[in-house]
């Protein structure tokens, strides 16, 4: 498997250096640490983020370093947490909220949709919401029900929100810093299955711009469009596809909103074929938007319909059955095989 950690060129690691080989969880931790140190308006709120350091240890040590007024354990009430953060943002702070798991962000849905997303617009810019809402999402960790939802489509459909999801440690660091620096609310989706995957980060690099996809692997045959937890499996599939003679390009969206139309379409126009891959249930999922806009914008370049490999339209399965639900290499390759290769020369573009 082409692990996400292998993507960057490896440099010698040294604790004091800006370059570090770290887990995604640690990359996020460092991003929070640097954001807290760099801007005293940054405040972290959430359940168990203080003394415990969060159930995924993303906030480990931060309360000790910055004190509980900067890193605050809240009562157990997600609407209250997000609503409190809205008020803090109204006063000019930059709250970073942690939701403990994807499904436990739902109680805050009204605050998110009706206030976080709309406050700037409502007030013609007078009350911006420079909020970051961190949500661990996705499956593959054997979690019981409500611990593995991929809820991105609820957020991508909500105007006023940015929706960002890293797939590498470097992006986890860079995108989280960029999210916190953004003057708009960012739903920051952390692929919990990748928390312990490793990669190199550079704490001194310029912050990435939100809204740019990245090509993780080039190839002329077809484009796999994916993000977050599904990137490693897409890269693995691309590797395996070579045996079948397909040279797949892999695009990591990173930012779902704003969407990188230019980047995605450039790839699909090159390859003429596309498969969208994500964990969430497919129906009305984010992949539908990707497929619809790619079909619309690249219509004459398409040799085959844009296909989707997604979770089934079922409640997230219990731990022992989740592997049947999640996109895997075989299902991706089966789908690539359905891209009507008989109609044209493989990998051909129009």
């Amino acid at each position: 498997m082409t692990a996400i950690a292998d993507l960057g060129t490896t440099r010698s690691t040294c604790t004091a250096s800006d370059f570090q080989q770290v887990t995604m969880s640690r990359a996020l931790n460092l991003a929070l640490q640097d954001a807290l140190a760099g801007d005293d308006r940054v405040h972290l709120l959430g359940e168990d983020i203080g003394t415990l350091g969060g159930v995924f240890r993303v906030t480990d040590g931060l309360a000790a370093t910055f004190g509980d007024s900067r890193v605050t354990d809240t009562p157990l009430a997600e609407a209250g947490i997000l609503g409190t953060a809205v008020g803090m943002a109204m006063y000019g702070l930059r709250p970073v909220v942690e939701m403990q798991f994807d499904a436990f962000a739902y109680p805050a849905f009204e605050q998110l949709v009706s206030h976080v997303a709309k406050m700037r617009n409502r007030t013609r810019g007078a009350l911006p919401m420079p909020l970051t809402i961190r949500i661990p999402y996705g499956g593959g960790i054997g979690g019981v029900e409500h611990h593995s939802d991929a809820s991105e489509a609820y957020y991508t459909h909500t105007p006023g929100l940015h929706v960002v999801t890293p797939a590498t440690a470097a992006d986890a660091y860079g995108l989280l810093r960029a999210a916190i620096a953004s003057d708009d609310p960012v739903v920051f989706l952390e692929p919990k299955g990748l928390y312990w995957s490793k990669g190199e980060i550079d704490r001194s690099a310029a912050l990435p711009r939100l809204g740019e996809a990245v090509v993780r692997r080039t190839g002329p045959s077809a484009t796999l469009i994916t993000y977050g937890p599904s990137l490693p499996v897409c890269l693995e599939a691309a590797e395996a596809a070579q045996a079948e003679g397909w040279h797949l390009e892999v695009v990591d969206l990173r930012s779902l909103v704003p969407f990188d139309d230019a980047g995605v379409c450039a790839s699909v126009r090159r390859t003429g074929r596309a498969v969208v891959v994500h964990e969430a249930q497919g129906f009305s999922g984010f992949g539908a938007e990707v497929a619809a806009r790619v079909s619309e914008r690249c219509f004459h370049h398409l040799e085959a319909p844009v296909l989707r490999v997604t979770g089934f339209d079922i409640p997230y399965p219990p731990p022992m059955l989740e592997r049947y639900h999640l996109p895997d290499v075989d299902r991706i390759l089966d789908t690539v095989a359905r891209l009507q290769w008989e109609d044209s020369t493989q990998g051909g573009t129009t």
């Binding site: 009430a77 209250g80 008020g87 700037r120 617009n121």
Partner: protein
């Protein structure tokens, strides 16, 4: 090691937080309010008269189609006015959807205060200038904002207090509970003012809560609860002021229930006769907050006919000004729809904005041609 819980809760730990058993401190018999300056009472009165006139005028404007809708606070002016006047300029007001009058008391221009209800934008005043949040339509959702704002100010060392307003119905929402709890745990400088006007649209308080009073809810969070006569502006002012001062000194939040009544229908679109009888309304008209204050002030020799006439004229002028300024429809700019969704327009919004701009240009040129509207 302190594992015993509640650590310091003695026999009376709950009882002391209960609202007084004599909650209705009628203005004429009020103890605390007696101590209020005459100037404060007169200021309250002035705002009551102005507020009543505003309510009448805004309701009239709905009939003329100048406002999309207006939720009146006729009958509730004492609570709106008394509570807001108790704030200092550096304090913040977090209103709920009915509180247009509170905005006025806070100094918002009446036309700007009505933007939401007129329909040209969602909110029409600068929240930072007025230290006043936009009117919150989703009920109770504003209460955690109040806590967050107060918490933020406290973290920054700024001694300001936040007044969060909500209706009786709104207290049933989970967000109210969460906000009360956060405020109590953080000892945030927030005053929660519940205007219990007897109804949530058509639903009477008896179907909304089985508590002895809504003020009793305070005890479950560990904060003081106060039940006050919401038709007595002086009493409301006094109680809110006390809570504000306690909060400012680090004493934490307070829940105040102001018992009042909504004389008008829920909004101009509502038919209140479907769910309540006129006798009930009559009863409350007897306790009219404007009349009561006037009677009280006259009785104490603080107000004479001339002053009443002057204040009424001032209110009349405001109404006249409002009428004329709302006489023409505003012309909100369609392309503004794309300008405040984000700090910078996304590529997608750029595209959509161009589409609308083209449509508008096409319609414009058709219009300029003087032609019948045809397909663009």
């Amino acid at each position: 090691m302190t594992v015993l819980y509640p650590p310091s809760a003695g026999e009376d730990s709950g009882t002391v937080l209960l609202p007084s058993s004599e909650p209705l401190s009628l203005i004429d018999a009020a103890s605390g309010t007696e101590s209020l300056d005459a100037s404060v009472l007169l200021e309250l009165y002035r705002h009551l008269v102005r507020g009543r006139r505003f309510n009448q005028q805004a309701t009239a404007l709905t009939k003329q189609g100048r406002l999309a809708v207006y939720p009146s606070t006729t009958g509730q002016e004492a609570s709106e006015v008394g509570a807001v006047l108790a704030l200092d300029p550096q304090d913040w007001l977090i209103p709920t959807y009915r509180d247009t009058l509170a905005l006025l008391v806070r100094g918002v221009d009446p036309v700007d205060a009505l933007t939401l209800l007129r329909g040209d934008w969602h909110s029409g005043y600068d929240p930072l200038t007025h230290r006043t949040a936009p009117l919150s339509t989703p009920l109770a959702t504003q209460t955690p904002h109040a806590v967050g704002l107060a918490h933020a100010a406290a973290l920054r060392g700024d001694k300001l207090v936040v007044l969060a307003m909500i209706g009786d119905g709104g207290t049933s929402e989970g967000d109210f509970h969460e906000a009360m709890n956060f405020a109590a745990v953080y000892r945030s400088p927030v005053v929660f003012l519940v205007q219990n006007n007897g109804y949530a649209i058509s639903v009477p308080i008896s179907k909304q809560s089985a508590a002895p009073s809504l003020a009793h809810k305070a005890i479950g969070y560990g904060m003081p609860g106060v039940l006050v006569d919401g038709n007595d502006a002086a009493a409301v002012y006094h109680e809110v002021r006390q809570a504000v001062e306690r909060a400012r000194e680090g004493g934490g939040p307070t829940l105040i229930e102001a018992l009042t009544y909504r004389i008008d229908a829920h909004t101009n679109a509502d038919d209140a006769t479907r769910y309540r009888d006129t006798a009930e309304v009559e009863f409350w008209l007897q306790r009219d907050p404007v009349t009561r204050m006037e009677r009280h002030l006259r009785g104490r020799g603080l107000l004479d006919d001339a002053e009443v006439a002057r204040i009424r004229q001032e209110a009349e002028d405001m109404a006249q000004d409002l009428r004329s300024r709302l006489a023409t429809d505003p012309s909100p700019v369609a392309l503004d729809l794309f300008d405040h969704v984000y700090a910078h327009r996304t590529p997608q919004l750029e595209e959509q904005r161009s589409l609308l701009a083209e449509e508008l240009a096409a319609a414009q040129s058709v219009h300029a041609d003087g032609a019948e509207e045809v397909r663009r």
